[in-house]
């Protein structure tokens, strides 16, 4: 049977690639600290020795559009081209191509449908920075096959937070029930408090540092009850108008399991938004 080698939750800051590769006067003052934190985070995946990556993210109106918007979608294809013209334009992200694992994707689709999630699927999916940012930070060689899973945190009406947690629990069960002897890392990215296109955007910190502090505590301690007691679709408007991306962190808390304390916790307070990085080892910390 497959083993969940690591569960990883992260923000996906599209400016990391540019900041970390910039030199001289173009290199921002926070770049070295950021790179050091990312390299330590990357090591938590490397030492889990994964064979396959299940990658949870959210399309930012690149391929998925309002005429046909899925809530949860699994990519099932042999390859995934990645990054888009407007991400190249705004963030300097490189074009990429990742391989897919169709067998695991098919298993997740068939058994996810049977478990009560009416998952949409795509056989030709171009993925965006919500998935390529963690590839760049955690596996820059991009040498492992992936199964991308997209969630709708972007175009209301959205599923409620509890549904994201339930999907996370289900993804964990689906991976663990895959009858193939592979080591699978489940990686998901979202946001802490974030404002995009609104009055509170691009401040000195994230728009709601108090929310960010609580969110990091919920995730690090696996406090799903505390998190679900406070977080609703309505409440997520308060910390910032793009904070519904926090529901992808809640999904990852569902993958890790209630009460599961993260084995690696780190954060970095940047302008505009706070970065946060978490790794769990469900089967013990690798040697």
């Amino acid at each position: 049977m497959a083993t969940v080698a690591a569960v990883i939750a992260s923000t996906h800051h599209p400016f990391y690639y540019r900041a970390s590769t910039a030199t001289g006067a173009d290199r921002p003052p926070f770049a070295d600290e950021w790179v050091a934190k990312i390299e330590a985070f990357r090591e938590t995946l490397t030492k889990a020795r994964p064979d396959i990556l299940v990658m949870v993210g959210s399309d930012h109106f690149h391929q998925l559009w309002l005429d046909n918007m899925p809530q949860f979608l699994v990519g099932k294809a042999p390859y995934f081209d990645a990054n888009w013209y407007n991400e190249e334009r705004e963030f300097g992200l490189p074009r990429m191509r990742l391989t897919g694992d169709e067998q695991l994707a098919g298993h997740i689709l068939r058994n996810g449908l049977d478990a009560g999630f009416d998952l949409a699927f795509s056989n030709e999916l171009r993925i965006d920075h919500s998935i390529t940012c963690p590839i760049i930070t955690l596996r820059p060689d991009a040498d492992l096959p992936i199964v991308p899973i997209y969630t709708n945190i972007f175009a209301p009406p959205l599923p409620r937070p509890g549904r994201f947690v339930e999907l996370g629990r289900t993804i964990r069960q689906l991976v663990e029930s895959w009858p193939i002897d592979k080591r699978v890392a489940i990686i998901g990215t979202g946001h802490l408090s974030l404002e995009l296109g609104g009055p509170r955007q691009f401040g000195a910190h994230g728009p709601d540092p108090e929310f960010d502090r609580k969110a990091v505590d919920w995730i690090a301690s696996g406090d799903l009850d505390g998190c679900l007691a406070e977080v609703t679709l309505d409440s997520l408007h308060l910390p910032g108008n793009a904070t519904h991306g926090f529901m992808d962190f809640m999904l990852m808390m569902g993958v890790a399991g209630a009460g599961a304390k993260a084995d690696h916790v780190d954060s970095l307070d940047l302008f505009h938004t706070m970065e946060a990085y978490f790794t769990w080892y469900p089967n013990g910390v690798p040697a």
């Binding site: 046909n68 175009a155 995009l196 009055p199 401040g203 408007h237 308060l238």
Partner: protein, 120 residues
């Protein structure tokens, strides 16, 4: 109100480098052309299979012609789409992050929570 159509305009312009430049240089002409030729194209269908009913309201058309991001925010356009396109058109005229900060400051003069509903 046709928030969907506002978003469709922002989305289809933003993903096409030539249309980004065309909208920057000729806002009124681009909006008129787009509403006439593109508004009713269903993006994943053959061109002949058009919709027949999509049109801007006067306020929406005016906000797009005037490239008025404050008005677009008030009309419930998706803030991510507006921001991304406007950065593409106008960031180049400013120092780093200056445009993004000014964009937020002017919204602060008009809006507090709860923000206009963006549900389509």
């Amino acid at each position: 109100m046709s928030k969907y159509l506002l978003n469709k305009f922002l989305y289809t312009i933003d993903r096409d480098p030539e249309l980004v430049e065309r909208y920057r240089e000729d806002p009124a002409g681009t909006v008129a052309w787009w509403e006439q030729e593109m508004a009713n194209e269903i993006l994943n269908c053959a061109v002949a299979e058009k919709s027949t009913w999509l049109a801007f309201t006067d306020d929406e058309r005016k906000a797009l012609r005037e490239q008025d991001h404050v008005a677009l925010f008030g009309l419930g356009a998706h803030p991510f789409l507006t921001l991304t396109l406007f950065i593409a058109m106008f960031e180049r005229d400013h120092d780093p992050l200056e445009y993004q900060k000014a964009y937020g400051r002017v919204l602060q003069q008009h809006y507090t929570l709860p923000y206009p509903d963006i549900a389509t």
